[in-house]
């Protein structure tokens, strides 16, 4: 094969996924770089979409635990009910998705063998194990409360009594559950995830607030939904603003948030989140509009997770995102060195 053929051939192998898409061409000039037949250098995480759903349901669970406790403490039973349900369902489904990705429940238990601070996945598992039982008890309390009085005795009565303090612990342990997932992604060699480490926790926390607030808007009666609305709109704003900032600080790999499947999810996330937040503000007096905007906010949050997830995989598949930034760093005379 001649050098020319070989070159065309390398191009061909690199092409396909991203090359030639108009969005990208308009953004940055094509980065020149060399690679081994255009093959990937770092390996993309071998994760299915389960993990993206896990990020989403974990966010809903965490945000809802906060909302549920707030609602309980301020006497908003309607909001408290839907938030506690969201917390429990979110928790159970995130454990389901995690186990589904691992393949076997015993493998989930295997995670409990060690506590490892350098492994966000280990830290996250322990956070869930700490948060889960309290959130679960708080949610069970919600069910017990509507049971006939004569059943609220004995162990059930005790559980009911404990559910309130449990709710407080659940709310206090919820935020790390929402935030650690960002570290989970960032602590990898996947360019788009690692590059985003400064802002990603804020994006994910904002997204968690938007989704759980959205759930509150869907389920709570209008006169109780105020805090959910505020939580959702605030979260949506943080998500939108910080996501923008994140793209600026990421460098080259931010490209992957605009191209391919990830680009579609991120665009959907933006549209849905803006529409949902606007609807939530304008629809204060309309139950229908509240429900609609709540749903949009939840869908927006899910799209954000899917978008960030896909962008990472795309950035690992194309060696450009590994080689070019490192090469530029070295060319500028700043290779990474240990300095005393």
């Amino acid at each position: 094969m001649s050098a020319k053929q070989r070159e065309g051939h390398q191009q061909g192998e690199r092409e396909g996924k991203h090359r030639g898409s108009p969005a990208r061409d308009s953004m940055v000039p094509e980065a020149e770089f060399e690679s081994y037949y255009g093959r990937q250098i770092v390996k993309p995480a071998p994760w299915e979409h389960d993990i993206a759903y896990y990020l989403f349901t974990g966010g809903v669970a965490a945000g809802s635990a906060i909302l549920g406790t707030g609602a309980e403490l301020t006497g908003r039973p309607g909001l408290s009910r839907v938030a506690r349900a969201g917390s429990l369902v979110g928790l159970l489904s995130s454990v389901f998705f995690l186990i589904h990705d691992l393949g076997r429940p015993s493998r989930f238990l295997n995670m409990m063998r060690v506590v490892k601070l350098t492994s966000p996945m280990s830290v996250g598992t322990w956070l869930l194990a700490l948060h889960g039982p309290f959130a679960g008890l708080a949610s069970v309390g919600e069910v017990l409360r509507v049971l006939p009085q004569r059943w609220q005795r004995g162990p059930l009565g005790l559980a009911l009594k404990l559910s309130r303090p449990a709710g407080i612990v659940a709310a206090a342990t919820a935020p790390p559950v929402a935030a650690y997932t960002a570290v989970l992604l960032s602590d990898t060699a996947t360019p788009a995830w690692h590059d985003a480490y400064k802002e990603l926790p804020y994006v994910f926390c904002g997204s968690a607030a938007a989704a759980s607030g959205g759930l509150g808007l869907i389920g709570a009666p209008l006169h109780e939904a105020g805090p959910a609305r505020a939580f959702a709109v605030g979260g949506a704003l943080v998500e939108l603003v910080v996501e923008h900032k994140m793209e600026e600080s990421m460098g080259l790999s931010a490209e992957t948030l605009h191209t391919g499947t990830a680009g579609k999810w991120m665009k959907a996330a933006k549209v849905l989140t803006i529409a949902g937040a606007a609807g939530a503000v304008l629809g204060r007096r309309s139950r229908a509009l509240s429900v609609l905007s709540g749903a949009a906010l939840m869908a927006g949050s899910l799209s954000t997770r899917l978008g960030v997830f896909e962008a990472g995989l795309a950035s690992a598949r194309d060696p450009k995102y590994t080689v070019v930034p490192q090469r530029e760093r070295v060319a500028a005379g700043n290779p990474v060195r240990y300095e005393g």
Partner: protein, 312 residues
């Protein structure tokens, strides 16, 4: 056991992992300038470690039929086609059979025909797990399945790994991988990579690949000594006018704290499929947890504020 340099910086990995009394750190020095691409190392590795065949993943895009390091390929010989370079004019008569290895580049072009006929040259390089000083795969493993051996190497324990795949995404060199096939193979769904023949090391044996390499392109030994050998070799090649020769991964102050398996390359690392300036991701882990902690507090505060000042 967590020292100041546990996440980044020069450190003796075995001591850092808590071995009080341990043998000298072991590793590989792969000198690609004498590699002839025979793939004996690939075969020896598969034979000794019972690594299943990989051919069903044949790509057919180059002469390289094993294409990458992965769960079923713990050693990988890259065949790099490069545009030809004008032959190095040393301006001195001493270059010849007496010199060290005659400079593999010239040698290979001679085999294939006269240098003028060729518009490309071959570079061969046998790649392997780097057994990093700061191994991201090991740091992120949630089960403790990956461990640091007394030889300073990184080894997977098949029985403990739960196949979460975190190590796969964390390795800055794209080495470790979860085994997908072939059907019937052991350890499907389990992370796999070079163990530096841990079982052989404990018996005072040389790893299979180094043993099989006919040109001594793969040298096994104490990392400290290998670094010395590598420096000498690169200096000699420079003297011979092979100015493209460079070491890769040998520097204890680089982004991964230096690797246990390092290389002499004849071109830029990325040409061989290696990252030019990799950094262990856990270097930034404290900052990541800080940011996440702040974001978490902000979320809690947001929750409180949402309820404040609202009448019921």
């Amino acid at each position: 056991m967590i020292g100041r340099n546990s996440l980044f910086g020069p450190v003796d990995p075995a001591a850092d992992a808590g071995y009080d009394d341990h043998p000298k750190r072991k590793g590989f020095f792969t000198d690609t300038s004498v590699c002839i691409g025979c793939k004996a190392c690939e075969v020896a590795c598969k034979e000794w470690n019972d690594v299943p065949e990989n051919l069903f993943e044949m790509l057919g895009t180059s002469y390289d039929n094993s294409h990458s390091l992965n769960a079923n390929q713990w050693r990988h010989v890259a065949f790099v086609e490069r545009p030809a370079k004008p032959p190095v004019d040393l301006g001195m008569p001493s270059m010849g059979p007496g010199g060290v290895a005659v400079d593999a580049v010239t040698q290979q072009t001679e085999v294939a025909g006269s240098a003028e006929d060729m518009d490309f040259r071959w570079l061969m390089s046998s790649d392997v797990c780097k057994h990093c000083t700061h191994a991201a795969c090991l740091d992120v493993c949630p089960t403790g399945s990956l461990f640091r051996s007394e030889f300073g190497t990184v080894v997977v324990q098949d029985e403990i790994c739960n196949g979460c795949g975190y190590c796969v995404a964390a390795c800055p060199y794209g080495v470790i991988d979860r085994r997908k096939g072939p059907d019937g193979a052991d350890n499907i769904g389990i992370a796999q990579k070079c163990t530096l023949c841990y079982d052989r090391l404990t018996e005072d044996q040389v790893p299979a690949c180094a043993k099989a390499c006919p040109t001594e392109s793969i040298l096994f030994g104490d990392v400290e000594e290998l670094r010395q050998t590598a420096n000498d070799r690169v200096a000699r090649l420079h003297e011979q006018g092979v100015m493209d020769a460079r070491l890769y991964g040998n520097d204890p102050e680089d982004g991964v704290g230096g690797t246990g398996a390092f290389f002499l390359l004849l071109d830029e690392p990325e040409v061989y499929g290696l990252p030019p300036d990799p950094v262990v991701t856990t270097k930034d882990l404290p900052a990541m947890f800080n940011r996440a902690g702040m974001a978490a507090l902000a979320l809690l505060a947001g929750g409180v504020v949402s309820f404040l000042g609202r009448k019921r």
